[in-house]
Symmetry: C2
DNA sequence: TATTGTTATACTCTATAACTATA
DNA sequence: TATAGTTATAGAGTATAACAATA
């Protein structure tokens, strides 16, 4: 007859590596929590994590094309089409054909887009503060550095 | 007239914190890469990250119910239904009504399920090795600890 | 020929509500 | 009344292929 205490001990100690030790699983679960919190917070601006990211990129001096946005966010170019469609219909961004390559659309934020991006960034920041608040500033910094290696691997 | 060199310098240095410094964004991008690699690797066993995670949990001594699986994987209970349906139809897991609470289904792996889980775990391990290979063993260990805090926050 | 953006389509995933059986 | 599992459904996200304009 199995003893409950032993069963618990074996699950806690002598087991083969479980999901709670699995980097990929922890990445998935942490991301799910972070994404849900971000989407909930950004909703007040009519944004989600995706559209927020696109909007933020369009406020950048780098002036990315749709293709560059797709690569950076790991989205299919066709998904960027509808994200930019939405932001453009709300007057937040504009498409400008790149004079240097007239196939490409450079996407730039309008003044209204920049204002919304700034407000949304504050919202996102305080939502992150809440989600990541269990970590010290140093731990967050370290985590950011480690994740950057995984997110942007050297070729 | 803007000088290109200055523009590049400003994007690299004096800019407001961009997405590459954003923990939530890095989490999302790293997870997307890890998930894509995991799904590709597990395909040879007819599994994806989701079904693999469910199968692995059913090999655990803890004998989780569908509701517990849903909570642990942050899935809706209805999603667990179809994941378990699939695994069960392939003879990899069984549903047993919990004698202590006859509403609940305890999901347990069959022998075939255990064998597949073991093989899939090896596949997953080597896929992870490839994805996370840019980090040293110590860095991976540190990253795992930090992510665990975000993935399982104290209440 | 190859690439950028676009459209269309199918598929998966996610979220929600309602139902049943048990508690 | 509340909970576990199930079913159904609608919406969001993902993946693919084909096309026009441009390189």
């Amino acid at each position: 007859m199995p003893k409950p205490a032993d069963a618990v001990a074996s699950t806690a100690a002598s087991r083969t590596p479980a999901l709670t030790d699995d980097l990929s699983f922890l990445l998935a679960r942490a991301n799910a929590i972070s994404l849900a919190a971000g989407n909930a917070a950004l909703a007040e601006h009519g944004l989600k994590a995706r559209s927020y990211s696109v909007l933020l990129l369009t406020t950048d001096d780098a002036r990315p094309s749709q293709r560059e946005i797709a690569e950076f966010l790991r989205l299919d170019p066709s998904q960027v089409v509808s994200l930019v469609d939405d932001l453009q219909s709300r007057g937040l961004v504009e498409r400008r054909t790149d004079p240097a390559d007239r196939r490409a659309n450079v996407v730039v934020a309008t003044d209204a887009g920049r204002r919304l991006a700034a407000a949304a960034r504050e919202t996102a920041r305080s939502a992150e503060e809440h989600v990541h608040g269990q970590l010290t500033r140093e731990e967050r910094q370290r985590l950011t550095e480690l994740l950057r290696v995984l997110a942007f691997p050297e070729r």
